[in-house]
């Protein structure tokens, strides 16, 4: 079907080209048979340049009108709103400059289209003009740079203030694993050389490190709303990138080193599902999926919004499907969930007292949070 469609499109294009060449050639019959533009070429193409300006504006408006709603919804992290406002201001500046410069460029192309015998202006230099269009970008860019750097420094400052929870994101071809630091909130030491598949020590934790005992290894990322998270990223094989677009967060995972990113989620998954933009998106998507279901195609189950972690650095064959679900929930829900998870100690080291250490730690955290 699509092959047919493509062929039809190609055929139509071919016909269009053939017709256009004919029109051009017919319009040239009277003129001298030269391959240098004459007045009538200048006129035709001058008008076309003007039409092209309208086309550029048209495709801009068309894209915003039709595709504007596809953009990511409101940021779900604390720093995300700073990101979004910097993006908005940059975009506004870009569109003002784009609109003006494209107008000048194409309008001049149309206005000054060649006419035989007309004199062009010998205008080789003007210091004042050049000074103006050097200094304006300097000022605008200085503003953007300063604002950008201020925001950047804030975002990238991964520190221990405000009692963050520490989570390791562990990447491998082609899936993600998360490791919570547990009640001591310190991640146990780890290295790929200590991976022991037989004992299910898949992240290579150091079994002799006491900090490792209470670490919790899971395949689904749960985060309490309003609590800062310090992520430590690791990869065991090739480069990956932990991309969490709804939180305006991304950091590469590099074998041989630990990279960091930090953010505070501000909306629970449930709250985000209520966001009108997200609700509308889910509705549109489910209409597409319902259509697919009607046709008996795959990938047609109804979708419910969830935050997601994607891999965003080419990592091999299944790069396109390397993901992990992120659930942001209330502190109570999070506490209940984490209590259900087994610690590394319980799973691998078989420590009898690991459980009690866990309970003790929980008590301590609970006191600290009051």
């Amino acid at each position: 079907m699509t092959t047919l469609l493509t062929l039809v499109v190609l055929a139509l294009v071919a016909i269009a080209i053939w017709q256009m060449t004919k029109i051009f050639e017919l319009s040239q019959l009277k003129a001298e048979n030269s391959q240098i533009a004459n007045d009538s070429d200048n006129k035709t193409n001058g008008y076309l340049l003007f039409a092209f300006l309208i086309f550029i504006y048209g495709i801009t408006i068309f894209s915003f009108w039709n595709y504007g709603k596809y953009l990511l919804p409101e940021a779900a992290s604390e720093h995300g709103s700073d990101y979004d406002s910097l993006m908005l201001v940059s975009m506004v500046i870009i569109f003002i400059v784009q609109t003006l410069t494209q107008a000048l460029l194409h309008y001049f192309g149309y206005k000054y289209r060649g006419v035989k015998g007309r004199k062009a202006l010998f205008f080789a230099d003007n210091d004042r003009l050049e000074f103006i269009w050097t200094i304006i970008p300097v000022i605008v860019l200085a503003g953007l740079i300063l604002w950008g750097l201020y925001t950047w420094t804030n975002i990238m400052d991964v520190n221990d203030e405000d009692d963050p929870i520490v989570v390791e994101l562990y990447a491998q071809q082609f899936n993600w694993t998360a490791r919570y630091a547990g009640d001591d909130n310190v991640l146990g030491k780890a290295n790929v050389r200590m991976i022991d598949i037989n004992k299910a020590n898949v992240l290579g934790l150091d079994e002799s490190d006491t900090y490792a005992a209470d670490d919790i290894i899971v395949k689904e990322l749960h985060l309490p709303v309003g609590r800062k998270v310090n992520f430590k990223m690791r990869s065991q094989d090739v480069l990956h990138s932990a991309y969490m677009p709804h939180f305006r967060a991304q950091m590469n995972c590099v074998p041989g080193m630990i990279t960091e990113f930090s953010f505070t989620p501000i909306y629970t998954t449930e709250e985000m599902r209520q966001n009108p933009d997200v609700a509308a998106k889910v509705k549109r998507t489910n209409e597409i999926r319902a259509e697919r279901a009607a046709k008996g195609e795959d990938n047609s189950d109804p979708w419910e919004f969830d935050y997601v972690l994607l891999c965003n650095k080419i990592c091999g064959k299944s790069h396109y499907n390397m993901q992990m679900k992120i659930i942001v929930e209330t502190q109570e829900e999070y506490d209940a969930w984490i209590a259900e998870q087994k610690t590394f100690g319980q799973n691998v080291m078989g420590q009898a007292d690991a459980g009690s250490a866990n309970d003790f730690g929980k008590l301590e955290t609970a006191t600290a949070s009051h």
Partner: protein
């Protein structure tokens, strides 16, 4: 100094001219040392052959993106076992994007573009008999040829060609067990690129030496056409940065074949720990982008030079702000070598470094803005001859602005966080360096076709059709692509069906693919026009665009040594278009341009800008 040098060259070239009349087919067309022939060789191999393959690959993977998992007979025809029952395999998808990027960036837009126009125009526009070393020039082309053959041969390997993305970041590119393309395919990729770099360096050294030493009498640096300035500076950037890529490639070869750990550490893959310890992939990223970023200017500067020249000729006006244009080329060249880190904001390098690179990156917007405004002002109050070359030049300014502006977002470390490696980046660089450089190249081919093919001209009507379909199509492909990126779709995804949040973006993918097919088909018009004009093109006037520069003073019929008699002497800059005296009359009555060979007239002021 330069006068004596010129005199020597003059004599020597005369000797050449006398003794080398009898040329065999092999010395004339194959192992030619004549810059005009080498330029055509680069054009055919670099642009037409490699370009066609690169663009065809993009159509294949664009079809996969628009109609994921569909079966196409064209996939089966071209991909064979990698498209069982016509459905594209995920590994070959990555191979296609990798080789598409490699071919377009290096083979088409670096050697194809610079090789064609630097070779053609440097001797002709500075008034030299040939390149400083004809032999090195020939060597450069044939190394490029070998490099092309090796790169193309890798497509036919059992396990497929390199597939780690055109940036070939290790460890993916270093470990054969990480993906099939990282075996023999990557080895051939590295070998091909090593030879390519040698070819590029030999070529660049030749360009630099020629521009510095072989300018004709009177051709001071500030009388050079902007094309030459652009090629000259491009060659310098190449000499500064390509060796660093070579070192990266060599270290990667060592890691791959000799067990060193420059870029690798702590790796557990397919059930076993590898011995590598202490290296860092981030080091590779630094080395790669130390070339990789200047590389995009190596691609765009020649296009900028061509556009400046073509625009001035066809506007019948001097280029506005000649000295500012040179200064901005130099500023861009300098800044281009200290901005590479903006590809690595989220690579794990120290965020403070990110701040520094944000600063230098956004600085580069300033000379770029100056160039754009100067081009626009060049059009103002001109008498625009809208030849196909001129339309492509205007089109280049348009896409350069559209693509360049989004650089403000990507160059800002903060904003880069969420659009890094998404389709937003793809849209940005395809407009600002891909399409813009191609437009510059098309402008150059339409404009200098008569110089290449002994006075024959390309058909202008086919040129107009080619331009307008390409212009509309390019925006049709790459403008909507920004929205796909802002919706969070990562690049290099074989299909986007694994994420329901991307379901509704499929209609944009279809739109982009349809535009891509139309635009690529329109290039066939260009190929047809080009080939037809070589054989059946009508010979036009000697100086069809009425240009001032020296190449148009050479006889249409190619001769070894370019000018039959003495080399022309230069008395003025290359932009005396529509210059008038106090009475408002043209300096040469009835002619709106003054060739560089015409001495200053009485009472005429040399307006040296």
């Amino acid at each position: 100094m330069s006068v004596t040098a010129n005199a020597q060259v003059d004599d020597h070239a005369h000797d050449d001219h006398e003794h080398h009349h009898k040329q065999t087919f092999v010395t004339k067309y194959i192992f030619s040392q004549d810059h005009k022939m080498i330029s055509k060789q680069y054009l055919i191999l670099g642009v037409f052959v490699m370009g066609a393959i690169g663009i065809a690959m993009s159509l294949l993977f664009r079809m996969q993106l628009a109609w994921p998992g569909e079966s196409f007979s064209v996939f089966e025809a071209f991909l064979g076992k990698w498209a069982p029952e016509g459905v594209m395999d995920a590994d070959v998808y990555l191979a296609l994007v990798t080789i598409h990027g490699t071919l377009m960036v290096f083979f088409v837009l670096t050697q194809g573009l610079s090789g064609t126009f630097s070779n053609l125009l440097i001797p002709l526009q500075i008034g030299a008999r040939d390149m400083a070393s004809g032999f090195m020039n020939m060597l450069s082309f044939w190394m490029f040829f070998v490099s092309c053959i090796i790169m193309l041969a890798s497509l036919f390997l059992e396990a497929g060609p390199a597939a780690a993305g055109w940036t070939i970041y290790p460890p993916l590119s270093a470990l054969p067990m990480a993906q099939p393309g990282s075996g023999m395919g990557m080895t051939l990729w590295l070998v091909a690129m090593a030879i390519f770099i040698a070819s590029s360096l030999i070529g660049s050294l030749n360009y630099v030496v020629t521009v510095i030493n072989l300018r004709t009498k009177g051709m001071s640096m500030t009388r050079l056409p902007l094309t030459i300035w652009a090629f000259f500076v491009t060659a310098i950037i190449g000499i500064v940065s390509f060796p660093v890529l070579l070192s990266a490639a060599l270290l990667l070869i060592m890691d791959r074949s000799f067990g060193t750990s420059f870029f690798l550490s702590d790796i557990f893959i397919q059930g076993e720990v590898l011995h590598y310890q202490g290296g860092s992939p981030v080091l590779y990223e630094h080395l790669f982008w130390f070339l990789g970023h200047p590389e995009v200017y190596i691609v765009i500067l020649p296009a900028m030079g061509i556009v400046s020249e073509v625009m001035a000729v066809n506007a019948r006006k001097p280029i506005f702000g000649y000295r500012a244009m040179i200064a901005s080329i130099l500023a861009i060249a300098f800044l281009s070598t200290i901005v590479w880190g903006h590809h690595m904001f989220i690579s794990g390098m120290n965020p403070f470094l990110g701040s520094v690179f944000t600063f230098t990156t956004l600085l580069i917007a300033i000379p770029s803005a100056v160039k754009a405004f100067n081009w626009i002002t060049t059009l103002w109050k001109g008498n625009l001859q809208l030849n196909p070359a001129m339309l492509f030049s205007i089109g280049m300014v348009s896409t350069f602005i559209t693509g360049g502006l989004t650089g403000i977002i990507l160059g800002d470390s903060t904003l880069d966080i969420n659009v890094h490696d998404t389709y937003f980046v793809i849209a940005h660089f395809h407009l600002v360096m891909g399409i813009s450089a191609l437009y510059g190249m098309f402008a150059g081919i339409y404009h200098w076709f008569p110089i290449m093919f002994e006075g024959k001209m390309m058909n202008k009507n086919l040129g107009y059709v080619h331009f307008w379909i390409t212009a509309v199509g390019s925006y049709g492909i790459f403008f909507p692509m920004h929205f796909v990126g802002m919706a969070g779709v990562p690049r290099r995804y074989y299909e986007n069906t694994a994420f329901p949040m991307f379901d509704e973006l499929t209609d944009i993918q279809v739109l982009m693919t349809v535009f891509a097919i139309i635009t690529a088909s329109a290039q066939l018009i260009f190929v047809f026009n080009f080939v037809r004009s070589i054989f059946y093109g009508k010979v036009g006037p000697k100086n069809p665009w009425r240009a001032t520069s020296l190449e148009w003073t050479a006889p249409q019929k190619h001769i070894h040594g370019n000018w039959p008699g003495a080399i022309p002497e230069v008395h003025r800059w290359a932009y005396d278009y529509s210059k008038v005296d106090e009475n408002g009359e043209y300096i040469i009555p009835g002619q709106d341009f003054i060739p560089q060979t015409v001495p200053l007239q009485e009472d005429e002021e040399e307006l040296q800008h």
